[in-house]
Structure formats: C-alpha cells, structure tokens
C-alpha cells in the first residue's frame, strides 16, 4: 500500500527470500556454528598427538587448517553476504513487514550485530594467524583458544536469531507485549536451539568428511585416522540431533496447532507433518550408516558417496525451515499483519472503501468499466503479488485452473464467490482486503490473464504511477 512493490513474476518474491535464506542457513550451520568447534577439536587433537609424534601432529594440524581455509573463504563471502541478503530480499518482498519488524527487533538485531562483528574478528584472527601459531607450543595453545572463542560466538549468533524466530512464530506475544524478551521464554525456543545445535555439528561433520575425502591423498597414511575421527564426531552428535529433532517435533503441534486460525489448517498441517517424519528418519539413517562405517573402517568410505550425507542434511534443514513459513500463514506477523502486508486493523477501512483509494502507487481510485482490467492488475499487485505471480511459481491463474479445471475459461463470477470467503476453508489465505468492485476487477483481471497471458512487471522495470490521495486532514488543535 505504501511502497512501490518490487515483483518477480516468474520466481515469485517468496521463492527469492527462501533461496537466499536457505543458502545462508546452510553456510551458517554447516560451515560456522558446527564447523568452528570441529576444526578446533581437530587442531587440539593434532596438538596432543604432536607431543608424541610430531609428523602425525603436523598432518592433523594441516588438514584442520585446510578445512578452516574453506570455511573462512565461504563464510566471509557468500555466508556474510547472504546474511545481509536476507534483509535485502525480504525488504523487497515485503517492505511493510520488514519495516515493522525492525522497529520491534532493533535491539535484538543490534546485539546480534555486535556478536557478529566479534565472530568475524575471531575468524580472521583464527585463520590468518594459523601458520604463525605453529612456531611455538605457546602460540599454538593460544591459537586453539581463539578457535574456542570463534566457536562460542558463532553459536551465540545462532542462539539470538533463534530467539527472534521463536518470537515471530508466537503471535500472542507480539500483540500483547511487543517485547523481544518473550521470544526467549517461548516454549519453542529451547527445543529449537537443542535441535539446531547438534544438527549444525552433524552437518559440519558431513561436510568436513567430504572435504577430507577429496582433499587428502588416498595414500596419505594419516587419512584414515582423520576420517575416523570426523565420522565419530558425526556419530556422537547423531543421537543428540535425533533427540532434538523429536523434541522439536513433539513441541510444534502443542504450541502451534492452537494458533492455527481455522481448525482446517490442522489437517493440512498433518499431511505436511507426516512428510517431516519421513525426511527425519531417512536422514538419520544415512548419517548413522556413514558414521558407523567411517568410525569402524574409514578406508571403506568411497569419497563420492560422502556427497550424499551432505545433500541429505541440506534437505533435512530445508524441510525444517519450511515449517516457519507454514505456521505463520496467513500472517506475516502473527495476528497483526497479513502476508499481503496489510494490517489486520486496517481491513475494515479497506473493505468498506476499497484499497486503491488509499495507495499513492496506483493511478486508479475507483473501478469503472473502462479501467476494470488495468485496475484489476493494481488490485492484484496490492493484495496478491507478495505471494502469487501471474503465470510463474504460485501462479494465480494455475491456482484457479486447479480448482475449476482448464477445459473451460475461468469464470469471473465463480472466482468472486470463491475469493470472498476462501479464508474460511483455506486457512493460509488472508481475507480479500478490498471492496466488491475491486474484487470484481481482480477476478476479471485473472480471467483476462488466462485468456491473454501478460507478464506483470514490477516497478524495478516499469516504474510506478503516482497519484494524489484525497484525505481530510485531522485538525491537530482538537
């Protein structure tokens, strides 16, 4: 309503955010939170071994350094930038919601930032002084200590973000308190953290195992020892991860189902919830097999096979990340703002007087026979385009074709009846925010889109039309 609305008509704005966020989470969990402690432990073990066998110790140290090199390169480029990228993408996809969230979470993000700065400082010290640290035992011990600090701060950044996520999943506390602290008291906070921590450790193990498999020469006599060590690391975290996953899994329905606005959501939730269980079991089984094989006979691990657990753990994480997306709908901020960026409180006004009158970014105010299709496009942009495209991912035309079949042209009247009360049966959809004339324009636009498909370009390409809004100034003297 109050912003020019960036729009990707093929990929959809939600997919954009999802892609950036998933990449970031994978790098964060796999190459920072879990990786830093694993490398530090490897380095420490190498240091211990060097006391009795300097050659062996050196080989272990060198492998640990190589692992850290890869983590250093990726986290300080793609990792850091996708973190900022979530902001950039999310504020393009839904500026109204990000603009609101930041006012409430400013402190959280600010403290997150301070810890992030420290994390980056530690990772630079840790990696860039590695070679120097091999000069003396004293330097080495101090270096290992930096590894420990890096591990702690990497974990802390995650612990804070999880608090923010937990808060956002709990609609009640936003409305009542508008304070962050409740996020950390949220019943889902600890299960989430207990789940994410071992998963990160495990993921880091699978990635480190794969890298070691490829980087170290087959004939290197130290390779089996290191592979065995990392496999054991995976195996060690496996039961914790499994326990965490189930704890989280048990907590979700208890805390969340009550929040689903329409009980029907429960059923859709159940289907999805079932697939989650399958993914969890498969991933744990794969990790277990690799962990056992690696621990007991590391030489039998074919290196190309090591790609599988890495991919499996990515899928695992991705599935769990979708959970939040699922639970928050139809809101983007629980009970406060719908996914279309419109406040719950503003709905009566828009439904009574229409949406278009209230936005400066559409040339239309009222619907006429002449402007119906063009105004329908404007309504689509305001009410639907945050989640739907015309013909791309989550296409509005295809959604209706799935309901009515594509043998006959879409019927604007039937769609009108549907949109008007769809939120009663499709719990994840917000109610239609405009008035009847706008609904009419919208459905005519959709029907027209089916007949003569036309890409809807965002303001990044076609700019925005601006109009003056008529309103009665409030007399401030009163």
């Amino acid at each position: 309503m109050d912003f020019p609305l960036f729009h990707l008509d093929f990929m959809g704005n939600r997919m954009l955010v999802a892609v950036v966020a998933i990449i970031h989470v994978i790098i964060n969990h796999g190459l920072a939170v879990g990786f830093a402690p694993l490398v530090t432990v490897l380095e420490f073990t190498g240091y211990q071994k060097s006391k009795s066998d300097p050659v062996k110790g050196k080989a272990w140290d060198e492998m640990a350094r190589k692992l850290m090199f890869i983590a250093f390169i990726i986290t300080t480029t793609a990792g850091a930038l996708t973190g900022v990228g979530i902001w950039v993408a999310a504020s393009l996809a839904n500026p109204a919601s990000l603009g609101s969230l930041i006012r409430v979470f400013y402190f959280a993000w600010f403290s997150e930032w301070i810890i992030f700065v420290l994390e980056v400082v530690f990772i630079m010290i840790y990696y860039l002084t590695w070679k120097k640290s091999n000069e003396s035992a004293k330097n080495k011990r101090r270096h290992i200590l930096f590894g420990a600090w890096l591990s702690i701060f990497s974990w802390l950044t995650m612990a804070i973000i999880v608090g923010i996520l937990a808060f956002m999943m709990d609609p009640g506390s936003w409305i009542e308190k508008k304070s962050l602290f409740t996020g950390f008291l949220n019943p889902i906070y600890l299960p989430q953290l207990i789940f994410r921590t071992p998963v990160a450790m495990m993921m880091a193990g699978t990635i480190a195992l794969m890298i070691t498999g490829y980087v170290m020469n087959k004939n290197n006599s130290h390779k089996p020892g290191i592979m065995k060590y990392i496999s054991f690391w995976i195996l060690l975290w496996m039961p914790v991860a499994a326990a965490g996953a189930f704890l989280y899994y048990w907590h979700i329905p208890r805390t969340m189902i009550g929040n689903l606005p329409v009980a029907l959501g429960t059923q859709q939730f159940q289907d999805w919830y079932g697939s989650l269980l399958t993914v969890t079991l498969v991933v744990i089984a794969i990790g277990f097999i690799i962990g056992i094989t690696g621990t007991f006979s590391p030489k039998r691990l074919p290196k190309h096979l090591l790609v599988i657990p890495v991919l499996a753990s990515f899928i695992f994480l991705g599935t769990f990340e979708r959970l939040r997306e699922f639970i928050r709908k139809p809101f983007v901020i629980g009970e406060y703002m719908y996914a279309n960026g419109i406040l719950v409180e503003e709905y009566p006004l828009y439904q009574q007087t229409g949406l278009l009158k209230h936005t400066p970014y559409s040339e239309f105010s009222d619907i006429t026979e002449d402007n119906k299709i063009a105004a329908g496009e404007a309504v689509f942009t305001l009410a639907c385009s945050r989640c739907h495209t015309t013909h791309g991912i989550s296409s509005v035309v295809r959604k209706f074709e799935r309901l009515y079949g594509n043998a006959v042209p879409l019927d604007a009247e039937a769609m009108k009846a549907y949109v008007k009360s769809m939120h009663n049966v499709r719990h994840y959809m917000p109610p239609f925010p405009g008035n009847d004339a706008e609904l009419d324009a919208l459905t005519s636009y959709v029907a027209e889109q089916q007949k003569r498909p036309k890409k809807l370009e965002g303001p990044q390409i076609k700019g925005v039309n601006v109009k003056e809004i008529n309103y009665e100034p409030v007399n401030s003297m009163k």
Binding site: F3, W87, G99, S100, I102, Y106, Q267, A417, V464
Partner: protein, 443 residues
C-alpha cells in the same frame, strides 16, 4: 495529462509503530556507524587500486611486486570489516527512513538485489587473487586480469548504493523513474561517486603511510631496495594529492546538490570541514618534507584532523538528508494521522446494525453452509465442486452418508479437485449442514 500524473508526489503513510530509540540517538548511531563502515570501504577500494598499480610496476622491478602483495593482504581483512560494519548503518537507515529507503530499493530493485551476489563474487575474486600469487607468478597477465576484474567490480558497486541513497531523497522523482539506470542519471550521483573514490585514495594513503611506517615493521628489508622512507613519502603524497583534488570535486558536488535540501546550516558545516581540510593539507606537506621524524605528533594530529573532516562531512550529509525530506515527512505524518482516524471510523461502522435485505432461512445449517461450503458449491452451477442440486440428488434421504463424506471426503470425479475434509465440525454441525443441503430446494 500524463505529465500531470507523473509530477505527483507520492504521500504514503508511515509505519504505525514507535521508533525503538529516541530519534537523535538513532541518528548518532547511523552517522557514526556509517562513517566506520565507509572508512573500511575506502581502505578496501583504495588498497585494491594501489595493489594493481604496484603489481604492474612489479612486472619490471620485483620489489614492487612484494610491496603489492603486502598491500593486497590488507584488502581481504578490510573488506570483511567493511561488510560487518555495514550492518549497523543498514539497520539504522532501515528504521529511520523506512518509507524512503524501501521505496528507492524497490524502484532500483534488480540492481539493488544484485549487490548480494555481486559483492560475494568480488570478494571471492580477491581471495583468488591473494591465494594464487605464487601459483600464477609466471602468469602475471592472468593474475593481473583477476585483480582487474575485482577492482572493476569494486568500482561499479558504489554506484548502486549511491543511486539508491540519492533516489531516496527525492520522492517527487519516484513516479518518473523506470529502473536503475534512470535513477543513476539523477543529478548528483556522479559527483558523489568521484568524491567517494578520491576520498578512498586519501584515506588509503594515510593508512598505508602508518601501516608501512610502524616501528615494528621492517619495511627496509621486506621491500629492499625500496626504503621505508620512500614508501612513507609516496603514501603521504597520495593522501595530499587526493585531498587536493577534493577541492575541485567537493565544490562541484555542493553546487550540483538539488537546492531543496541546501541551507545555511549545511553551508557552515561543510565550510567547517573544508577549513580543517586546508589545515590537513598544510600538515601533510610538512610531514612529507620532514624525513627524520617518522611518526611524531604531527602525523597523529593529521589523522585526528582527518577524522574531524569526515565527521563534519558526515554531519553535512545528514543535514542535507533531513532538509530534503522535511516537507515530505510532514505531509506523510499528516496523512498517517488522517488515515488512522478513518480506520477508527471504519471500525465504528462495523458496529452499526447490519441492514439485511433478505429474511434469513430458519434452517440452522445455512450459516454453516455459507461459511464452509458456499466457497466451492453453488446451487445449480459448477464452481470448484459440483452443484448442490446434483449433490442433493445423490444423497437424497441419506443424511449419514453425506455427513461421513463431508467429514472425510475423497475424490470421486477425476475432472474435479479433491474436496477438503472438515474433521473439526461436530456431529451436530454436520447434521445441521446435511439437513440444510438435503431439505433446501436447489434451483
């Protein structure tokens, strides 16, 4: 007529939540953290250009190659600090100028979004350059091309930021802009850009003069036959020259500022900065001509004075922004107020008794039907599901079968989507619905 539409100033409404901190404090955080961020950006850009310069010189004289390599090792550290220190100003500008910043972001959408992969890839290129120094020692053209690509990226990325932050100040232009390149050509983007690049060289010169001149650092051995003294002089000269050039670009920037944000306050603040710049230039000149003392008081005073220039200019930048947006912010506040009054009115309207034209049915299932079923089922025509006339025919006198179906349906017709189940409805509700469906005349 079209121009009449285009010249409108969009007046959106503000976000109806309070700022998390007093505005002045947020402004202090914004200005300070931005200057910290830009300092490291300066060092990163300036350092990469100098690396290139000395690596090219190193093709003939090997010692320059060593110098270039040493400078390059500062880039990757400075770039990491630049990124993390960029988060705080980003956060602050998001919260202080939400409506302006997000609007200009959307209008330059693709370019703005591209900074994420672009910066990540540029950084990777710099790592590649740094860690391939030995391996590509005998393939210098390739090594230099890698660096060249990285610098090219670094030099283009600021355009995106500047365009965005500039566009944000001119809501009256938003209706005219179609895409990034349009916004790029608004007055002031290019002067700002060159002001920034030149500042990068000045700051980098000063930094490297200190970096190579540190007492602990044995530059004489590291870069022999180049002497520590020579490097120091080079770097200070760079700082002096760049500062001098700012005396041409600076006024150009000031004169091309659209007048709506220029005020006497701004003028005096800028003049304050310029005055210090003159003193800095004198001090730098004296430093260059004082070979003995490496880092005496004069150097540190110069650094403090430069920090002074930067704070004056940073403040000036903020004053301009505030001036430029003042009127628009007032308009926005007024509209926001009116809007929330209208919202309140709309809520009151809801409480008015509803004027219902038709007399409601006496069947209790009707309401349930309207909220749950009417979405997909009409009386005689196909909507999502089959018509009720058809369905009532199938279940005639068979309430229980209909109830069972509603509660847990499946898919009977392949040309229709499967029906959603209603397991949450109570038995009583199901009975009411099925009674309604089977008793009503659907036609």
């Amino acid at each position: 007529m079209i121009s009449a539409i285009l010249n409108q100033i969009p007046v959106p409404k503000d976000i109806p939540l309070p700022l998390p901190l007093p505005e002045w404090l947020l402004v202090v955080i914004l200005v300070f953290s931005f200057l910290m961020h830009i300092l490291f950006i300066n060092l990163m850009v300036g350092g990469s250009i100098l690396t290139f310069w000395y690596e090219v010189k190193g093709l003939k004289k090997q010692e320059y190659d060593r110098l270039a390599r040493h400078i390059s090792s500062t880039i990757t550290v400075n770039k990491s600090l630049a990124v993390v220190l960029g988060v705080a100003p980003l956060l602050s500008i998001n919260v202080l100028y939400t409506l302006y910043f997000y609007s200009s972001n959307a209008l330059t959408g693709y370019a703005w979004l591209s900074i994420v992969p672009w910066v990540a890839v540029s950084f990777l290129i710099f790592y590649l350059h740094k860690y391939s120094w030995d391996r590509l020692a005998s393939h210098k053209p390739i090594h230099l091309s890698i660096l060249g690509t990285g610098i090219f990226s670094f030099l283009l990325i600021p355009f995106i930021f500047l365009t965005n932050i500039n566009l944000m100040l001119f809501p009256e232009k938003w209706g005219e802009i179609t895409g990034f390149f349009d916004a790029l050509t608004l007055p002031n983007v290019f002067p700002r850009y060159f002001h920034f690049i030149t500042a990068s060289m000045a700051v980098t010169g000063l930094f490297l003069a200190w970096w190579f001149g540190r007492r602990k650092f044995d530059a004489d051995t590291a870069f022999a036959p180049i002497s520590k003294e020579w490097i120091r002089k080079q770097m200070l000269t760079l700082a002096l020259t760049a500062t001098g050039i700012q005396f041409i670009i600076g006024p150009l920037l000031f004169l091309t500022l659209p007048s709506k944000g220029v005020s006497w306050g701004l003028f005096w603040v800028i003049l304050g900065g310029v005055t210090i710049a003159v003193i800095v230039m004198v001090q730098l000149w004296k430093l260059i001509n004082e070979p003995e003392k490496q880092f005496g008081r004069r150097f540190y005073i110069s650094v403090i004075l430069v920090a002074g220039i930067v704070s004056f200019m940073g403040t000036g930048r903020h004053i301009y922004r505030e001036n430029a947006l003042k009127t628009h912010r007032e308009m926005m506040a007024e509209r926001t107020k009116a809007h929330w009054k209208a919202v309140k009115q709309a809520h009151e309207n809801l409480l008015l008794p509803q004027v219902e034209g038709k007399e409601g049915s006496f069947l209790p299932g009707q309401n349930l039907f309207q909220t749950n079923c009417a979405v997909c089922h009409a009386a005689t025509t196909r909507l999502v599901g089959p018509s009720m006339a058809e369905a009532a025919q199938i279940y005639r006198d068979n309430n229980e079968a209909l109830k069972l179906w509603i509660k847990n349906p499946g898919r009977k017709r392949m040309d229709y989507p499967a029906m959603t189940g209603f397991p949450h409805l109570s038995d009583k509700q199901l009975t009411e619905i099925s009674d309604y469906v089977l008793q009503k005349e659907w036609n």
